[in-house]
């Protein structure tokens, strides 16, 4: 109980710092970079629930991000809903896709499951390409406010929102890690047959994990069109989401809730820094080399390397 209090206090401090920075820091660039890093904290944490705890590798992060993004776009265009409702809609859409993925493909294991998640990305991208209401192949520009009465600009407010979502996502992952639900996922990862024999309702737990993971990814995708003021299929379904959301927990460590946070902050910050210092080609190279390096030299990530 005391550790939860400490965690909640830490989360509140993070939120407070984000809000203060948004209110007082002058440099807008930091907020654009912070949005991306915080979004990756949510995505890596969400990926880790199914991939790290449950052992099911999901290559379809882009599909979930895009589902949240396009749910927000459609509802904003249809009813001009306020931001919290758009995020809720993105969360719900991601959860529905997650449960569908669970129901449809969780009977597949290993590489077959991974291929199915890739297939879902391709199917959804084709749907978006042909859905003119949300911009189709051309993409869509969103008319959103530029100012925010409290934080100055709308983007700064989005960063504070994303910081809040990151705290909630990490809190959920922390709870999963210590709950019976999390232990069931760990049992499934180690041996699904043994878990089933021990009375773990494997299919139900896997569907629940996929739904939870999908909901978190959908939530992270919902503010994306508002952050960009525009969205098209290349931005929403970017391969970088799939690669980074997987690389970050593997670099940080998949066995603990803090692993994806460490990976996302380190790799996300490095990617942002390299993009505007050396070149973007090097940015992609760094992700690849770090992933290979950690898989070979430290398969349990930074946490395993530090001996936790």
């Amino acid at each position: 109980m005391r550790s939860w209090v400490r965690f909640a206090a830490g989360g509140l401090v993070v939120l407070l710092l984000a809000a203060l920075a948004a209110r007082w820091l002058a440099n807008d660039y930091l907020f654009f970079a912070a949005f991306v890093v915080l979004q990756f904290v949510v995505l890596a944490t969400a990926w880790n629930i199914l991939g790290g705890y449950g052992g099911y590798v999901n290559f379809g992060t882009g599909a979930f991000v895009a589902t949240g993004a396009y749910a927000a776009v459609a509802l904003q265009k249809l009813a001009d809903l306020p931001l919290p409702l758009l995020v809720l809609a993105g969360t719900a859409a991601g959860a529905v896709l997650g449960s569908a993925l669970g129901l449809l493909t969780l009977r597949l294991r290993g590489i077959y499951f991974a291929i199915a998640t890739l297939a879902i990305t391709i199917i959804l991208e084709t749907v978006v390409l042909n859905w003119d209401y949300v911009g189709g192949a051309r993409g869509i520009t969103l008319d959103r406010p530029h100012e925010d009465p409290f934080f100055g600009t709308y983007n700064r407010m989005l960063v504070v929102l994303m910081a809040g979502m990151a705290v909630v996502a990490v809190g959920i992952a922390r709870w999963v890690g210590v709950s019976a639900f999390g232990r069931a996922l760990s049992a499934i990862r180690d041996s699904e047959d043994a878990a089933e024999a021990c009375g773990v309702p494997t299919l139900r737990r896997k569907v629940q994990a996929a739904t939870l993971s999908g909901a978190m990814m959908g939530a992270a995708g919902a503010p994306l069109p508002l952050y960009l003021s525009f969205v098209d299929h290349t931005a929403a379904f970017g391969l970088n989401y799939a690669v980074s959301a997987m690389a970050m927990p593997m670099i940080g460590g998949t066995g603990h809730w803090i692993g994806p946070v460490i990976g996302a902050v380190l790799l996300g910050t490095a990617q942002q820094a390299v993009t505007v210092t050396i070149s973007s080609e090097v940015n992609v190279l760094i992700t690849g080399l770090l992933l290979i390096g950690f898989v070979v030299a430290a398969p349990r990530g930074i946490l395993g390397w530090l001996g936790r």
Binding site: A26, F32, N130, A137, T141, F230, T234, G238, V276, S280
Partner: protein, 421 residues
């Protein structure tokens, strides 16, 4: 920050040639803090083939303007980053350009979707934004400090409509439209459709194929069975290669008089080299070709200098489509800063709205939405291409201008089956 990914070596390679080709009047050396021009440019990703020639041309201009004494007596510096051709990357880059690098002038990324997120940011900061070949990017926002260096024009049919108007002028009535299911090509298809409707032409085939398709025999058979007289194609480089090869293998039917229109890739040397004489007969869009009707002051010298730099930098050696326009972008900014006497965005924008600029791609004047007041996309027909040597494209008569009428430089060959032999 990238300050010379391909630039220094390539630009230095041309500096001696530049001095010989265009002797410069000795000017005082620019001094003081540099005038910083910031932009993101695709050096990786799907549009890198166009981003690299654009960058090289700007670097050539930077070299020239600094040799002329810079802007307002200060040296010019380009501050740029690779946006990976991604709309998700560009907002952070432009935030850095504005807030950390504190650039004086802002140029947009190459490509419509990559630029879209930048428009609201530029408007919010009141910055002049010079677009680089974005298609109708300012149509909805109508930002009064936006300008586009591409000669697309403001109306939806100015670019894709040229092919359809050519077909209509030749008495063709049955049009087929086949476009890739992607940004840009869908827009082109819509423009072609709209023009055909306004001219009373019948659209007998109108389908999209999946983006990145490379095998087109079934699509071409479907087109053929509709017996069109003109086929409008909107494709990206890989698809263009697939379509040209499939046409060479199975043909497209004797009814077809004109084929092409919106095939991306045929503007760049690597694909032309790869396709060789299979491009003969195709009618396609271009912005500049070395024909007698497009002999603008300084263009030959620029193309020659660019070729030297491109060879040294490993970039598209022809560079007809983007490079001269990116050099012209620098010329427009240079003339505007000189006329206004400051880097103030509002004053520069006001001047650019009203003035006419002499550039290596001819006279440029901007309309109300920042697009060229007089659009000038041309349709060219590949004629007499032999083998795979791209140097032949430097001669007149290989890409003959067949539209618009005021720039026509040769005879259009029809039907397509005969023209491609």
């Amino acid at each position: 920050m990238d300050k010379g990914v391909l630039g220094r070596r390539a630009v230095l390679a041309t500096s001696f040639g530049a001095t010989l080709a265009a002797p410069l009047v000795a000017r005082s050396q620019p001094a003081g803090s540099p005038v910083r021009i910031g932009f993101s440019i695709a050096q990786t990703g799907t549009l890198a083939a166009g981003g690299r020639p654009s960058l090289l041309a700007r670097q050539l201009w930077m070299h020239d303007v600094n040799a002329r004494g810079g802007l307002l007596g200060r040296p010019v510096e380009l501050v740029f980053y690779d946006d990976q051709t991604s709309a998700a990357t560009s907002p952070a880059i432009y935030a850095k350009l504005l807030d950390v690098d504190r650039v004086d002038l802002l140029v947009g990324p190459y490509g419509t979707p990559v630029q879209a997120p930048i428009m609201p940011m530029a408007r919010q900061r009141g910055k002049l934004l010079f677009g680089n070949f974005s298609f109708r990017a300012n149509e909805e926002m109508r930002y009064d400090r936006y300008f586009n260096i591409a000669p697309f024009g403001a109306t939806p049919d100015a670019w894709p409509g040229a092919f359809v108007r050519l077909a209509h002028r030749r008495g063709l009535k049955r049009l087929a439209i086949m476009v890739a299911d992607a940004e840009g090509t869908v827009t082109l298809g819509a423009g072609a459709r709209e023009t055909a409707r306004s001219l009373g032409m019948e659209v007998v085939y109108d389908q999209r194929y999946p983006f990145n398709t490379t095998e087109f025999s079934s699509v071409l058979r479907a087109v053929r069975s509709a017996r069109p007289e003109a086929v409008y194609v909107g494709s990206f480089p890989n698809e263009t290669a697939g379509i040209v090869r499939s046409v060479a293998e199975i043909g497209v039917g004797s009814s077809v008089q004109l084929f092409g229109g919106g095939m991306v890739g045929l503007q760049f040397a690597p694909l032309l080299e790869s396709l060789g004489d299979a491009v003969n007969g195709l009618v396609n869009f271009q912005t500049y070709v070395p024909e007698r009707t497009m002999e603008f002051p300084g263009i030959r010298e620029f193309i020659d200098r660019y070729a030297v730099a491109a060879k040294a930098g490993g970039v598209d050696v022809l560079g007809f489509y983007l490079a001269p326009f990116n050099y012209a972008m620098g010329q427009v900014l240079e003339a505007a800063v000189k006329a206004v006497g400051s880097l103030e965005d509002e004053a520069l924008s006001r001047h650019m709205k009203s003035a006419e600029f002499e550039t290596v791609v001819g006279k440029i004047a901007f309309g109300p939405t920042g697009e060229w007041r007089d659009p000038r996309m041309v349709q060219v027909q590949f004629q007499g291409v032999r083998g795979t040597d791209v140097e032949q494209y430097r001669q007149a008569g290989r890409q003959v201008i067949v539209e618009p009428p005021e720039l026509v430089s040769g005879e259009l060959r029809m039907p397509f089956e005969r023209a491609r032999r």
